[in-house]
């Protein structure tokens, strides 16, 4: 069999928009709490960052191709993955991650000091740091920013920071956060948009229009956004490490068609291609002037079954009116029809990683279990036990893009021999989300962008009355475990808890986890020093172009 990888002539921009903005928005979060040494993580895949040389070429412009347009450039209201890539270069956060998925201080001077009861976090800020408008970074600025995120009615950061009661400055560079209940993932949250500190002068001046001219701390500063698809950053004269910043300009340009992006990379129109698709990998690898970097991602892709979502995900679950809800064994039967390896091979040319848990294998929190293989005989037997007449008619809602439809078709074909008649329902993405929230579906192929902290990959999907609990999950024992894991400050205990949690998830099968995407970056060989980690963000602080 010759399965050749080909670049395509044209693609569907909606495909990228749909996949990126929800399913794959990877928001970096960090390993909880200060016990970094105990959480040394395995290597996160092939070389993710190249070393910078002290005599790197100064100056130059790098154009980065993005698969779709960042939304608002204000962390208060932003919610796209590509937006985070842009932020990573001009709007630094209290914490960040490194290549080993360890949380490291960025604007903070060190990891937070946590009180024994887990309710108080004390954060020291780095001294002598300036915003990109020259004003100093102070604890006041951090406090005002966090309170802005918490209280601004338009803020989408507020739910991420839930449990935070007060944020105060107890010194010029000391911030104290007080929680109502312990919340282990907090530091990881501060290593994402909620930890981005905004210039107070600018915030006061622009208010809710901050996105028009955002000012933060960063190696680059926002210069202009001449169109929705083009964002220009220039080197910041105020950055605290500016001697290590080599580029003078960074341009983010939206190229929504994956094969056009690959072609642009090969022709040199862009120097970095974010989100390369599996079909375009070989063309880029075979070109003498370009190379590929492939990284694990933080999220998963799977199949949601509507088990208990009868009144909407935010309301109390019940028992849904479909065969999968009435016969749990049927979900197992369906899982038995799927050959994860083959799905990965046929749909993604083997580029992604098959799996069956919500935590990708590169994460320090990964729970390794043996994934069930394809077993049509068992599937048939399980269906027979339920007494349902074959073929069993079920519906599968997928995003209305060629790739998702293809995945649905493969699943459909795999399920057929066992006695499932799967009707595909390609649905436009926003409509699909509405239907999922309303419980208006039977099966839904959907993923999650992923965070480093496992709580953020599981809690909202499985805890009753959570916004993302499309399946209507309602398992008392699971709820207890999830809450314990979220509030515990003991690393080892958390590891054990997540083992138990994953086992429960495998048994209940409201979600069948199928694979993990990979973040694939294309680069021209004369661009070095790009830092590309499993969160999928392209960091250019130390990059140079030769």
């Amino acid at each position: 069999m010759t399965l050749t990888r080909c670049s395509s002539a044209a693609g569907d921009p909606r495909k990228r928009a749909a996949l990126r903005s929800t399913a794959l928005t990877a928001i970096a979060t960090a390993i909880p709490l200060a016990l970094a040494t105990a959480c040394s993580s395995p290597s996160s895949g092939p070389a993710a960052s190249s070393t910078t040389t002290t005599n790197a070429t100064q100056g130059g412009t790098v154009t980065v191709g993005l698969p779709d347009a960042p939304d608002s450039l204000d962390p208060t209201t932003a919610s796209t993955l590509v937006g985070r890539t842009v932020f990573a270069n001009f709007c630094y956060k209290l914490y960040d991650i490194d290549s080993g998925l360890t949380i490291v201080p960025e604007l903070a001077a060190a990891l937070p000091q946590v009180s024994p009861d887990g309710l108080t976090y004390t954060i020291q800020l780095k001294p002598n740091v300036k915003f990109n408008d020259g004003t100093p970074l102070t604890a006041q600025a951090a406090v005002k920013t966090l309170n802005w995120y918490l209280t601004n009615p338009l803020s989408v950061r507020a739910p991420e920071l839930h449990g935070v009661q007060t944020v105060t400055a107890t010194g010029p560079l000391t911030v104290v956060i007080h929680l109502a209940k312990p919340f282990a993932p907090l530091t990881s949250i501060l290593a994402d948009r909620s930890g981005m500190i905004l210039s107070q002068t600018q915030l006061t001046k622009m208010g809710n229009n901050f996105a028009k001219d955002p000012v933060c701390v960063g190696p680059f500063q926002f210069s202009s956004r001449p169109s929705l698809d083009t964002i220009i950053l220039t080197k910041s004269p105020y950055f605290y490490d500016k001697q290590d910043v080599h580029l003078s300009k960074v341009i983010f340009q939206v190229v929504s068609d994956p094969s056009t992006m690959a072609a642009d990379l090969e022709s040199g129109e862009i120097q970095v291609a974010d989100a390369v698709t599996p079909q375009n990998v070989s063309a880029i690898e075979n070109n003498a002037q370009t190379a590929i970097q492939s990284q694990y991602s933080l999220g998963y892709q799977g199949l949601d079954f509507n088990v208990g979502n009868v009144h909407g995900s935010l309301n109390a679950p019940g028992v849904a009116n479909n065969p999968f809800a009435k016969y749990p064994a049927l979900r197992q039967a369906f899982e038995d029809t799927i050959n994860r390896q083959q799905l990965n091979q046929v749909a993604f040319d083997g580029q992604y990683t098959p799996g069956c848990t919500p935590i990708p294998p590169n994460s320090p929190w990964a729970v390794s279990i043996t994934c069930p293989g394809q077993d049509i005989a068992q599937a048939k037997a399980l269906i027979k036990q339920t007494g349902l007449a074959t073929p069993v008619h079920v519906t599968l809602m997928v995003d209305n893009t060629p790739l998702s439809v293809q995945i649905g078709t493969i699943i459909q074909a795999m399920a057929k021999p066992a006695g499932f008649d799967v009707a595909l329902q390609p649905t436009e993405f926003t409509t699909a989300l509405t239907k999922a929230e309303d419980g208006n579906f039977e099966m839904f192929q959907i993923g999650w962008s992923g965070r480093i902290d496992p709580d953020q990959n599981i809690y909202s999907d499985w805890y009753p009355k959570s916004g993302l609990n499309y399946t209507g999950a309602n398992y008392a024992n699971l709820d207890t475990l999830l809450t314990q894991a979220r509030e515990s400050t003991d690393q080892t205990a958390r590891h054990t808890l997540y083992h138990q949690i994953v086992n429960v998830l495998e048994n209940e099968r409201n979600i069948i986890y199928l694979w993990y995407d990979k973040n694939i970056l294309g680069l021209r060989k004369n661009v070095t020093g790009v830092q590309f980690f499993a969160d999928g963000l392209v960091r250019l602080a130390t990059a140079s172009i030769g």
């Binding site: 670049s7 939304d71 209201t77 991420e160 028009k212 190229v255 072609a263 129109e269």
Partner: protein, 316 residues
């Protein structure tokens, strides 16, 4: 004649008004809303409600329509809840791009189609007529998105002489801008050229049989003048009519071509706005398109009266 134009203009305005109501109603009939598209990750009811309140989506539809309409009259098209950019800004960024594509295709279509039609009409039944007519028929039948893909395959992927898509603004290089526009304009212009060629050919053939042509020939005018000046001038009406009728198809064609060649124009904006339930942007865009279409038709009507003052009514 002025009355006729005025009457047409009034009708145009009324049509535009009706169009806005239809757009408004249709857009709000789509399930979900911008808040759903925005908060896909968090589903935070408080933020959704606040966003809805900020943009006025929680008010009755009629109220929203009136507010939007009066804002439009003041030249305000609102702000996109998805991107926080003003709709006018987004439109003004993309209109020049789509306009360049549209005008390029129109020019190509006219420059290729009309002369081809005249030449074919001047040599009916001969080889050049068969070839031209055959090509026109082909251009008419080929699905332009497929044509675009094939063009990209040949010229961009295999020959590497033209880019496979995207757009370069003129300030960044006129040559680059044109090379990016060439294939899309060819693809879009082909259909128009085909229709124009056939229409021109038919009109000129008919005109060549008319009395005034015989008179011109009898007067001893050179043949090329008879054909290119007299016969063609009288065929211009039908040509202009055809252009008018093709404008609607051009709009649909633009959306597909912008998608195949990933050109960041109005077509792409429209599709994205639908998918993201970006009501203000979608309303703005469709308003613009409808207005453009109506204005273009108005111009077509006006040029009728200019070309042939005897005609003050659109045929048919």
């Amino acid at each position: 004649m002025l009355w006729a134009i005025l009457r047409r203009a009034v009708i145009a305005v009324v049509t535009l008004l009706l169009a806005t109501i239809v757009v408004f109603a249709a857009v709000h009939a789509l399930p979900g809303g911008p808040a759903v598209a925005l908060s896909a990750e968090t589903v935070n009811p408080v933020a959704i409600a606040a966003s809805a309140h900020r943009y006025g989506f929680d008010q009755p539809l009629v109220v929203q329509y009136i507010k939007w309409f009066s804002a439009v009259l003041h030249g305000q098209l609102g702000t996109s809840p998805i991107t926080s950019l003003s709709v006018t800004e987004q439109l003004s960024q993309r209109i020049p791009i789509t306009l360049e594509l549209a005008i390029g295709s129109l020019l190509l279509g006219i420059v290729v189609g009309v002369p081809a039609g005249v030449i074919a009409a001047a040599n009916p039944g001969k080889a050049v007529d068969w070839i031209a007519s055959g090509l026109a028929l082909g251009g008419l039948s080929i699905p332009h998105f497929w044509f675009g893909i094939i063009m990209i395959l040949i010229f961009a992927v295999h020959l590497h002489v033209l880019p496979s898509g995207g757009f370069v603004p003129i300030p960044q290089g006129l040559g680059s801008n044109l090379s990016h526009m060439l294939l899309p304009a060819i693809v879009l212009g082909t259909g128009l050229a085909a229709v124009l060629m056939r229409q021109t050919r038919a009109s000129v053939i008919e005109a060549l049989g008319a009395d005034y042509v015989r008179t011109a020939r009898a007067k001893g005018l050179p043949e090329w003048q008879v054909i290119w000046v007299h016969a063609l001038r009288n065929s211009l009406i039908t040509v202009v009519t055809v252009i008018g009728l093709q404008l609607g198809g051009l709009i649909a064609g633009i959306v597909t071509v912008e998608e195949v060649f990933t050109i960041p124009g109005i077509g792409q904006l429209t599709l994205n706005a639908v998918y993201q339930r970006d009501y203000p942007t979608l309303q703005g865009v469709v308003l613009l398109t409808a207005a453009g279409y109506i204005v273009a038709n108005l111009l077509v009507d006006v040029s009728y009266t200019l070309i042939n003052p005897r005609i003050s009514r659109r045929p048919g």
